[in-house]
Symmetry: C2
Subunit: 220 residues, 2 copies
């Protein structure tokens, strides 16, 4: 049986897209938001579209109820959100999707002093939380459709078993995931997002992504 998934910031574009794909795959999903009315509206719309009941809650309640927790909030809100939910997620897998974009220069790599948003997440959540990072490079507006998305998902974390569970979530979203090493390696995917935004602008593209060649990810 797969774990229930709480999506913190689940009314945002990425969070709602992940929620929609996971519900379609048969997962139990709880949409979280700072504003419970917004969470309820997003969950109701999703449920109506898919003919399923989708749960909603405040971020805090969603974090408490989800067996696995995915955080999809803007970089500016990351630290406060994680500190708020930290007591609810002890021992759980928390998937941080934060990309450290610093407006207005979002096409420029600006990694935080901790080295990556993922390492910052681990600091904010504390050592008892199994932090994994993923979903940095996939274009949310593509994930929000039923189309295949030509973008691999690099999955980072210090614990292989936790990465494995997140790979299953990635596959439930219809994406190919790859073990990509320690949480510190998350810097690579986080930085790459600014590069992809640059490429989108330079080549007038709409949602450039990346694929890893030469590896056999079925072997995980």
């Amino acid at each position: 049986m797969t774990s229930s998934v709480a999506i913190i910031g689940g009314t945002g574009q990425l969070g709602a897209a992940i929620a929609r794909r996971l519900v379609k795959a048969g997962r139990t999903v709880i949409i979280g938001s700072r504003d419970v009315a917004k969470a309820t509206a997003t969950a109701a719309a999703l449920g109506a579209e898919l003919g399923r009941t989708v749960d909603s809650a405040t971020n805090l309640d969603a974090a408490a109820r989800g067996e696995l927790v995915i955080v999809t909030v803007p970089f500016a809100n990351q630290e406060a959100t994680l500190r708020e939910i930290a007591p609810q997620v002890r021992g759980k897998i928390v998937v941080d999707t934060t990309v450290p974009l610093v407006p207005p220069k979002v096409m420029r790599v600006q990694l935080p002093p901790e080295g990556s948003a993922a390492l910052r997440a681990q600091q904010a959540l504390g050592e008892g939380v199994r932090v994994v990072s993923a979903f940095h490079n996939v274009a949310a507006h593509k994930l929000a459709t039923d189309e295949a998305v030509a973008c691999d998902v690099l999955v980072f974390g210090d614990e292989k078993a936790a990465r494995e569970e997140v790979l299953q979530v990635v596959e439930d979203c219809g994406l190919r995931g790859l073990h990509a090493g320690a949480l510190a390696n998350s810097a690579a995917a986080e930085a790459l997002t600014s590069v992809l935004i640059f490429i989108n602008k330079h080549y007038a593209a709409d949602g450039a992504g990346l694929q890893i060649t030469g590896a056999a990810p079925s072997a995980h």
Copy 2:
């Protein structure tokens, strides 16, 4: 007419592979090494294989003679090498290929305090040098063959015209290059190399690479 290319550290695996592909494409190449006898031996072997004359010199002389200079030395030698050749490359394009791998943990992203090896290169060379970075992710042992390599080359630099010239070098190597933004963005590709080394180990792969999807690089 294309520029002559000096390859600093041209007897190493990556440098020799780039040299071989550029000579095959008809470029004038000067193989540089700290040890001129090694440079001469590499150039002679390459020339014999390809039926061409390939030049050789000390790193210092190669840097003075090349119109475009590619630096392919290990991270540990990068700063000293660049400081040595700095007076020879004022006003020239210098392509830094350095990946900040810190043995023994080469599968772990460990970016330098400057943010990237490319920014460190700019500091070591000074502001009068047109620094571009590229070739971080391509497996040297694949580039050393005549086979197609399934890996894009992300090209970073603060000056678009300089990136354009390097894109031509990349294409002469038979690879697809993409404008990838400012020199600071080089951190993304540099970090990704540790991820690729991890993926090679985890999936028992031999030279994983990356491809950018959804962009139309013919538009540069």
